[in-house]
Structure formats: structure tokens, C-alpha cells
């Protein structure tokens, strides 16, 4: 046993390197397995304190347009270092304070402003089973860089979110 332990300690760097490679390799492979091109998926980004992304994804995937293979729901933390993904988002749920900052990356669903997602005064809002909002108003917008503005799929799913 002592000899085995000594052998392990002598190769600790190899074991650590393998563990790191394993995490990176399978992270990349599972990333590929659970992803597809922008035109075949709908990406929803929520800048909220708490998001039950898996449950919301499953709820939305039950009834998708034919050309869409998957829905991806992410919090903003997920893309902290990846602003490209935010720019490609199809739907965003953001607090009022973000609206002016992100004005080039969002377009309203209808009219001038965003659709109200959460009202802090009444506590009423959309997707309350999946999202815990902060103490401010939240709005739903379409992404200006969305691949689904023209085909209307982004608007269709946004309306579904508002009705859920």
C-alpha cells in the first residue's frame, strides 16, 4: 500500500494533467452534442438572480417550430466572457437598468418599449415558476442580432413566453 501511494505521488502531475484534459475534452464534446447552428436553435438570455434553465428549456422544447432543433436558456453569468453569444441572442429578459446600456443589441417585440416581464410593485410577471426576479422591473426584448427576426420564430417564442 505504501509503495502504491509512493508510485501515485511520483506521478501526481500526470494524474492532474489527465483530469484537466478529461474535463476539457468532455466539456467540448458535450458542448458539440448539445449545440447546433444559430438558424436551428433559439437562444434566450435572462439577466436575473435565479434561473431554472433546464426546466424552462424542457417546457419550451415540447412545442417547437419545425425548423428549430433546440432551445437554449442561459443566465447572463453563462456568457460573462462571451459577448458574441449575447449579440446573437434571440430573446432577452433584462432589468430596466440594462435597457439603455443594451439599446443597440435589443429590439422591442411590438411598439417602442419592451414587453413587461415583471412588475416589482405587484409581484406579477411571466415565467414565475422558472425565474426569480430582483426588486426592479424586467422587460422582454428580441435580440437585434437574432437569426430569427425575419422568419418570425423569435417573436413567436417570445409571445409564448409571455403567455406561459
Amino acid at each position: 500500500m505504501k509503495r502504491v501511494l509512493k508510485n501515485i505521488l511520483s506521478q501526481l502531475h500526470s494524474f492532474a494533467l489527465w483530469a484537466l484534459m478529461s474535463v476539457l475534452l468532455w466539456g467540448w464534446i458535450f458542448g458539440l452534442a448539445t449545440d447546433t447552428s444559430y438558424d436551428k436553435k433559439v437562444m434566450i438570455y435572462c439577466h436575473v438572480p435565479e434561473l431554472r434553465d433546464v426546466e424552462l428549456t424542457m417546457a419550451l422544447e415540447d412545442d417547437l417550430p419545425e425548423s428549430i432543433k433546440m432551445v437554449q436558456v442561459h443566465s447572463f453569468d453563462y456568457v460573462m466572457f462571451d459577448t458574441v453569444s449575447i449579440a446573437q441572442a434571440d430573446i432577452l429578459i433584462i432589468p430596466a437598468v440594462d435597457v439603455s446600456e443594451m439599446r443597440d443589441e435589443i429590439v422591442p417585440l411590438e411598439g417602442d418599449g419592451g414587453a413587461e416581464a415583471y412588475d416589482p410593485d405587484t409581484g406579477e410577471g411571466i415565467l414565475l415558476d422558472y425565474i426569480t426576479y430582483g426588486d426592479e422591473a424586467y422587460y422582454l426584448f428580441l435580440g437585434a442580432g437574432s437569426a430569427h427576426l425575419e422568419d418570425g420564430i423569435a417573436a413567436r417564442i417570445a409571445k409564448k413566453l409571455l403567455d406561459m
Partner: protein, 163 residues
């Protein structure tokens, strides 16, 4: 007094080491391939609901099996390969006979990139010679009532025991 030379590595010993090495290598390759296949299957079966768990399972399987393969590869297959090379060298190279009382010491040396050996002292009336023996044969040498050793390149290849 009848003399008997005991080889530390016979042809059968070398053949046995080769068989063990090949079996271990095959087992590690099969284990690694099976683990990879399971991880690929997990990736193929993944969906939005189970993606996190499936990835964690693949990482754990891949890491643990990888560690087993690294350990078995370095301290099993590679160590046996080096021991076989060492045994072949002992059997083929010219030998020097050293007479004296043979003592296998506890001093263990790991030769970088090669085998691990134990220090052996052969004490005659006039001098004490220090040679080496592969650690896997140290016990066998220590158990022999040796009166002389045959050495190739400083390593004990055989011992002469008094009957």
C-alpha cells in the same frame, strides 16, 4: 562441496514476464476503449434535461479509468518491459564472477527512466564489492545461501549456492 548456479532470470521467467506484460497491456487497452465507448454513448444520449449529469458521469468515468490506465501503463506494462530488457541483458552479456559472502541491503535506488534496484554487498576476506540487483529479484537472492555471484554490467545475474 557441490556447487549450484541459480539464475535470477531463467528463460521461463522472461517468457512469463512477457505473457504478463501482454495480458496487462491488452486489459488496459480494452478498459480504456470500453470507457471511451461508454462516454461517447453518454454524449450521444444526452439532452437538455440530463446534459449536466451525463457530462459529469463521462468526466468521472474518463478520469478514473484514465488514472487506472496511467498507473497500469507506467508501473505495470512499462516496468515489466524494462525488467524484460534487463533480464535479456543479464542473460546475454559477459559475466564476472565475484566470490564472497552475499548480503542484500535495504538500500533501494531508482535508476532514472529505468529499473529500481537494491544494493548488494559481496564481502571476501580481502575486499567488499558493491553491486546491484533488480528489486523484484532481491528477495530471491537474499534467500539463497550464496557463496558467489555472477555479475553483468554491475547487476547480479546469477548466484552460486553451496549445497
Amino acid at each position: 562441496m557441490e556447487q549450484n548456479v541459480a539464475e535470477l532470470y531463467t528463460e521461463e521467467d522472461v517468457a512469463l514476464l512477457e505473457r504478463k506484460m501482454k495480458r496487462l497491456r491488452t486489459a488496459l487497452v480494452v478498459l480504456g476503449a470500453a470507457a471511451f465507448a461508454v462516454c461517447v454513448a453518454l454524449a450521444a444520449l444526452t439532452n437538455a434535461r440530463n446534459a449536466g449529469r451525463m457530462e459529469l458521469a463521462a468526466v468521472i468515468i474518463s478520469t478514473v479509468v484514465g488514472w487506472v490506465c496511467i498507473y497500469g501503463g507506467i508501473f505495470g506494462v512499462d516496468a515489466k518491459k524494462k525488467e524484460i530488457g534487463h533480464a535479456r541483458m543479464l542473460r546475454s552479456e559477459p559475466r564476472e564472477r565475484i566470490d564472497g559472502r552475499v548480503t542484500v541491503t535495504d538500500e533501494r535506488l531508482r535508476i532514472r527512466g529505468s529499473i529500481t534496484v537494491r544494493r548488494v554487498e559481496v564481502a571476501s576476506e580481502t575486499e567488499t564489492r558493491r553491486v546491484l540487483v533488480h528489486e523484484n529479484r532481491a528477495e530471491r537472492l537474499a534467500e539463497l545461501p550464496a557463496t558467489a555471484v555472477y555479475v553483468a554490467h554491475g547487476y547480479v545475474a546469477a548466484a552460486e549456492e553451496a549445497k
